[in-house]
């Protein structure tokens, strides 16, 4: 990667070896620390509740069983929610990416070439800082009759301003000569964006794809707010409602007593694993895009 592959093999500096070993050791340690919480969650998901409730599980399951997974995957509600989340993720991310590229390209141009850019940039940026509050947002979605539809989840979130600013920045770093060459060939802005900027910025786009996917996958609040029909709940909304402890304020004794039966930490952990695995698995697929984009040969003159 980076510059190393271009280098010919030379005599290896012992200092470099020392550095590499320390570097890799530290990184591996870091990765281990990041992995351990997950191992704990997996262990709990495979354990018997008695051991869990006694606080005896650290990294290895006890009383191993896959009951929690079986129970969970048996629920129609779980699969409904899963499908909903996948649908939302695909549609939402697609919309995000299209809008990102479309919008970041003009904004990345200097003021001379696009006179409205600073105005538009601030127009978008301010929305990151100010929010009208729950009720007005709810009313807009409600008035547009978007409640109970997928659009309530993907339209308000269609423009990810944080990612837009990042994308704008990445686009700005595309060498100007590439664009000039394209324009001389008579390409429209749209084609330039699509055929030059996007391929060259593959690492950035892969990053944005990942961020948008993770964002959509993890959202739960809008699912709760706008999906009135329980069958339309996305996964995280569904999970949160079986993950969070009950509010006892208005429960009666027998509800609380029975809560103990479903206060199943093993089940909760199984839910987490099932809910997280898909998105984790997507990351390696995107990694191959984290390489240098197509290098269009340097343009002279």
């Amino acid at each position: 990667m980076t510059g190393n592959t271009a280098r010919k093999k030379r005599y290896v500096n012992p200092g470099r070896i020392a550095f590499q070993s320390v570097n890799i050791t530290l990184l591996v340690l870091l990765a281990a620390i990041c992995l351990l919480p997950f191992i704990h969650v997996i262990a709990v998901s495979l354990s018997n509740n008695a051991y869990i409730d006694a606080g005896m599980i650290t990294f290895w399951p006890m009383g191993t069983n896959v009951q929690s997974y079986g129970y969970l995957l048996d629920k129609a509600a779980f699969w409904n929610a899963f499908r909903m989340s996948v649908f939302r993720l695909v549609l939402g991310t697609a919309i995000n990416l299209i809008l990102l590229c479309l919008t970041a390209y003009p904004l990345s141009k200097p003021k001379g070439k696009f006179h409205g850019r600073t105005f538009y940039a601030w127009f978008f940026f301010v929305t990151m800082l100010v929010n009208g509050g729950l009720i007005p947002n709810y009313m807009v979605v409600s008035t547009l009759k978007l409640r109970n539809t997928i659009w309530a989840l993907v339209l308000p979130t269609a423009v990810q301003v944080y990612d837009l600013i990042l994308m704008l920045n990445f686009f700005r770093q595309v060498p100007g000569e590439l664009e000039d060459a394209a324009l001389i060939d008579g390409a429209s802005h749209f084609r330039t964006m699509l055929e030059i900027y996007v391929p060259v910025s593959m690492p950035a786009i892969a990053t944005m794809t990942l961020f948008c996917m993770v964002y959509h996958w993890n959202q739960w609040f809008d699912g709760m707010l706008y999906m009135d029909n329980v069958n339309l709940r996305p996964l995280q909304t569904f999970l949160r409602q079986t993950l969070i402890g009950q509010d006892y304020t208005f429960a009666d004794g027998d509800e609380i007593a029975a809560f103990a039966e479903i206060n199943d930490r093993s089940l909760r952990c199984a839910q987490i694993i099932i809910a997280t695995i898909p998105i984790l698995c997507s990351y390696p697929f995107l990694q191959r895009y984290f390489v240098k984009g197509i290098i269009v040969g340097s343009v002279k003159g």
């Binding site: 051991y51 409730d53 009720i135 409600s142 709760m224 409602q241 009666d252 027998d254 509800e255």
Partner: protein, 563 residues
């Protein structure tokens, strides 16, 4: 990696399909048809016989009633099963069917929301002005707001004319206290979905197998109780003397309350003091004694040093792995510890339960609250306000007088919760259930079971020995059950209500959470070692200054009006 994942996923999906394909022994369709059919066929004649035909008269034309509703984790578990067996779901189920067939009422739900989110969603509907005809309101302040904005109608007349006399009787069993919660200027703005009122009562649970082993006698005074805690630790049986948690403030008092009550202190209750005025229990001098005791115990290492950061579930781990043998708590504590039954060698674990004594050996009075599942309010725009009452009446009929009340109310334990409006139980519901169970066990005759006793009986006689053990400890025939204690407390007039339950005033709404924070922090600081007297005095001063004085005034005003 990709392939592996796909295989795994397919495998799991196949598994889920397979398990759903097992043949079922019970003919659910027939059961459903029978139960629903009975209600449809017999409700009118029952109403005739009992002179309450007016209350259950169907509408001539189909009448739509829009509603919203809440569900919780228990409902989620249940509705899946009900869906499998009967094809029911939240919008279409046994209740909506009888509402339609008996009363010609079409119930349309705008949305269903989880308990935790219900209040937020309701406020969205309020803000967006999309409230339905009939809806449940949990927060008193919301009821007051809705009343002030003219969004809901007063129900005084309707309660008189449209609610079954039996239901009305139950609403007034607590002297009208519950209804006074939503009464503003004499107008009642909602009717309650009643629950048992006694759930707050605290009991003392002690590991009786350890008591037997160490030859300890039953405690007579509160000092004896503390002594037992110490003895357990000294004998190496327990790590800590008593259970306490403060990491989850919303339930902290469930475990702290009992300890304070032993010293006649009531931290969450408005009590009537000697001069006939109301004061808030947390700021009364009686609090000093329990605080001093707890401080001493903390310093002696009798309380988990991490109690302030552990939430309920975490704190319970210490009980479950046998590190604590003394718990002050509500009756459901037993179900929380039933997992200890699985860990060997604990099959001989038994718990002793007693009422809370004070230093003189007298049983102390305990505070209870007007518990309910929210208030049903009726939109000012509702064209058929009496519909809500008719639905409640029909619910009552099905839950008590149909040919299978348990199927209606306690199928999969919670089938009553998906009814449009529900719960007409008496405030003494748990106690009544207990008495019924005792009768049944004594006569060995399950046919005598009533109401939720059926469900509880099932738990007590369950083949799951953990469940059976836990429920037997609470409601069964074990020697020392919390319900037995409750019976005693009730019979001896040792239960009293929180004296101020009026709708929160502006001051209360604005400052109560801050005052609550102050109280919680003071409690924790003192238990962990801060000087009791100075810290407590400082706290009372602050509490009063922020809003306590004003709120106490308001409480007393309300109390005078509503005596």
């Amino acid at each position: 990696m990709k392939k592996l994942f796909c295989i795994l996923l397919t495998g799991l999906m196949l598994l889920s399909c397979a398990s759903g394909c097992f043949a079922e022994g019970t003919d659910y369709k027939a059961i459903y048809a029978d139960r629903v059919g009975y209600v449809v066929d017999n409700f009118a004649s029952w109403a005739e016989e009992n002179g309450v035909s007016d209350y259950l008269k169907p509408y001539d034309a189909p009448t739509t009633v829009t509603m919203v509703h809440n569900y919780n984790n228990s409902c989620e578990n249940m509705i899946g099963k009900l869906g499998d067996h009967y094809g029911e779901n939240y919008s279409t189920n046994r209740w909506t069917e009888i509402m339609k067939k008996c009363l010609n009422i079409d119930v349309q739900y705008d949305w269903w929301a989880h308990d935790d989110d219900y209040n937020t969603k309701l406020r969205m509907s309020m803000g967006a002005s999309t409230l339905p005809d009939v809806f449940v309101v949990n927060q008193q302040s919301d009821v007051a707001q809705l009343a002030e904005a003219g969004q809901i109608i007063p129900l005084n007349d309707l309660i008189e004319k449209c609610a079954l006399p039996e239901i009305r009787e139950r609403w007034y069993m607590d002297g009208g206290l519950t209804l006074s919660m939503v009464t503003i200027d004499g107008q009642i703005y909602g009717f309650p979905q009643t629950l048992s009122h006694t759930d707050d009562a605290a009991y003392i649970f002690i590991r009786s197998d350890w008591m037997k082993e160490l030859g300890i006698e039953e405690p007579r005074t509160i000092e004896d109780v503390w002594d037992i805690g110490y003895k357990f630790v000294e004998a190496g049986k327990a790590k800590y003397g008593v259970f306490l948690e403060a990491g989850q403030p919303s339930v902290m008092y469930d475990y702290l309350r009992g300890m304070c009550e032993a010293y006649h202190a009531y931290p969450q209750t408005w009590v009537v003091t000697d001069d006939g005025k109301l004061q808030f229990g947390a700021t009364q001098d009686a609090m000093r004694a329990p605080l001093k005791q707890l401080q001493k115990m903390y310093a002696d290492g009798m309380i988990d040093p991490e109690f302030a950061t552990k939430d309920e579930t975490k704190a319970f781990e210490e009980i479950i792995n046998g590190n604590i043998g003394l718990v002050f708590g509500p009756h459901w504590v037993m179900t929380f510890v039933m997992n200890m039954y699985d860990l060997e060698p604990t099959k001989d674990v038994t718990w002793y339960c007693c009422a809370i004594p004070d230093s003189d050996g007298n049983i102390v009075p305990e505070a209870i609250k007007t518990n309910n599942r929210g208030f049903v309010c009726i939109n000012a725009n509702c064209k058929n306000p009496e519909a809500a009452f008719k639905m409640l009446n029909l619910y009552h009929y099905a839950s008590y007088y149909s040919n299978d009340p348990t199927w209606w109310g306690y199928e999969e334990s919670y089938s009553r919760m998906i009814a449009p409006v529900w719960s007409t139980v008496k405030p003494t519901d748990n106690l009544d259930t207990y008495e019924n169970l005792q009768k049944v066990f004594a006569a060995n005759d399950p046919s005598l079971l009533e109401g939720k006793a059926v469900s509880y009986y099932g738990n007590i006689t369950s083949s799951d020995y953990k469940k059976a053990w836990a429920w037997n400890q609470m409601f069964g025939t074990a020697d020392y059950t919390p319900m037995k204690v409750l019976k005693y407390l009730n019979e001896n007039g040792l239960l009293f209500y929180n004296a101020y339950v009026g709708a929160p005033s502006i001051t209360y709404q604005d400052y109560w959470s801050t005052m609550d924070d102050l109280t919680t922090q003071m409690l924790i600081k003192v238990i962990m070692g801060a000087d009791v007297d100075t810290t407590f005095d400082e706290y009372v001063k602050q509490w009063n200054a922020i809003g306590g004085e004003k709120i106490t005034e308001e409480a007393n005003e309300w109390y005078q009006q509503h005596r």
